[in-house]
Symmetry: C2
Subunit: 332 residues, 2 copies
């Protein structure tokens, strides 16, 4: 794995800066179904390279384009959803842990670029490409880009600071994930000083929910039960049908239920199209649902874990609720 | 109003430090119905003064004690809910904008302390007491305490850093309010470096909702309508009765509805016990409901405003919804 040496002493950082300087044309791609960090990285790096040397050709692409909630970022109109022609001196993949995740535009770009920089923060990165800027301790890919720009001693204009802060904010859920460290806040502070509005970014990205997901919550709220510190909800296939939902996403219903003060743990039971039951569990700080998920063939962390069981939903409820009650009433 | 000069040049900071140094016994109080900033200020300052000089007597008090979600803070067990005896060289009121807000313990303390320091960040502070550390640009009272300790050149131990960061996090809703500035993040960074876990504090304070409020949401979700970018809900007295709610708090229902991507503005109509109708409005970033609230006899900010109208709820809906649709469909 690439070490987390400081940029100026890490040969990959120097190699990346040299490859960027030498290239007259650069294609930047990111991962399929892009989130705030994917698009923030794409536009943060793209806008920085365009501002650094307007004579270079900088192309940006992601299959199916940019989700509408990120339309406030400068440069969104330059992102191509399909690539059918062109060739580049350099391709840079941002926030993608493997080649397949870069989609059709990534496959086209690799076939038409002699050099590929792989810039990412996922510990699962497969180390594809020629130059690796993979920093698992970074909370977002935009943090890696911030460090890269810092190592190139670039001044960060606001159209770069805004997408970079967007990645930092979305991947940490607004500085609430456990990997948020003092340096995360230091970088956020510097990006604010460079012209990014933290208020606008949090409002546009974190305070967001699909109306379809709201309708599913409305549909299943009558199933919610609070008993002995365990709050639970049930999502049946008939509920999805009732609200016209095509996929079983519940938009964080278990996380929402875990906020309720009188509950120590929350669980959502969902019927799957394959006749199985998936469970999504959340625990208050001081409680732990990882072990239970593991014992049921699933996995996760202390505060958020899940599993899929090969049994009908009511049978799974009867089996799991007593086990959760024991966790809720154990010593925190 | 007290100026926001730097601590070392502001005579009130020097006066406060001198009064603290001269006092052998100090009572600290805060405001009624204490929130995270009130208790964070009480314990942050209390723990700091105890650690600075263990020979001083430091008493902490707030009417009815500390809310249970803040029980994780060191020193909670030393907070007195009632004062019936004692006298002090100095009383310090933290996060209270006027004397009445300090409750019975504040009244007792003022009657039994020759000097009162008024430490706060509310612009509405009445400037009661003898020494004023009132800094309206501070996002929380704990920020003022941080600056006071800094001016006294104290090293901040973790049992002080944790309550101070709690106030900063709760009053900014996790760095999401519009008064959050780069320095807010710098202070948060320094408190993390001093041993405060941002993850634990956000989990214990922000990810929190009363089960009664959840039940009210469940009760009124069937009334939710999304039309032309306006999402609305109706809370009738019969809904409050149905869930056994004694006060009409909706725990941020309008803020929740404003998250929905397909809505530009959200409104909650509530019947009051007095036969009036209160409205609570929220706008997406780029939209503005302050003017409408003002024209209806209320007030607020662009993104959050409200009013109380002397008319039945259905009449208010018929009047206000078309005005909101015009806002939702105007140029953002």
């Amino acid at each position: 794995m690439t070490s987390t040496l400081t940029p100026t002493t890490n040969p990959h950082w120097i190699g990346a800066a040299q490859a960027i300087a030498a290239a007259d044309s650069i294609l930047i791609v990111t991962h399929l179904h892009p989130d705030g960090d994917a698009i923030g990285s794409l536009l943060g790096l793209g806008n920085a390279l365009r501002s650094l040397d307007p004579s270079k050709r900088i192309d940006l692409a992601v299959d199916e384009g940019v989700p509408s909630f990120l339309n406030f970022l400068t440069g969104v109109d330059t992102v191509q959803p399909v690539l059918t022609e062109g060739a580049w001196d350099l391709m840079i993949s941002v926030d993608a842990s493997d080649e397949a995740r870069t989609g059709l535009v990534g496959a086209y770009g690799r076939a038409h670029s002699p050099v590929v920089i792989n810039l990412d923060h996922h510990i699962s990165n497969t180390m594809f490409g020629n130059i690796h800027l993979v920093i698992p301790t970074a909370v977002s890919a935009t943090e890696v880009i911030f460090d890269l720009l810092d190592s190139m001693q670039l001044t960060i204009p606001s159209e770069v600071a805004i997408p970079l802060l967007t990645g930092l904010v979305t991947d940490t859920l607004g500085f609430r994930t456990s990997n948020t460290v003092p340096r995360t806040l230091e970088i956020a502070m510097r990006l604010m000083q460079a012209g990014a509005s933290l208020r606008e970014i949090t409002a546009r990205t974190l305070e967001s929910m699909e109306y379809n997901a709201f309708n599913l919550w409305k549909q299943v709220f009558p199933s919610v039960i609070l008993e002995d510190g365990v709050i639970s909800a049930v999502v049946r296939l008939s509920d999805l049908a009732a609200v016209g939902a095509t996929d079983p996403t519940d938009s964080g219903l278990s996380s929402f239920l875990a906020k309720i003060n009188e509950a120590q743990v929350a669980i959502v039971f969902k019927e799957t199209l394959e006749g199985q039951t998936s469970i999504s569990m959340r625990a208050k700080y001081g409680y732990d649902v990882a072990g239970l998920a593991l014992s049921l063939g699933g996995g996760g962390h202390k505060q958020a874990a899940g599993a899929t069981l090969d049994a009908p939903i009511d049978q799974v409820r009867a089996q799991v609720i007593p086990l959760l009650k024991a966790i809720a009433n154990g010593t925190p």
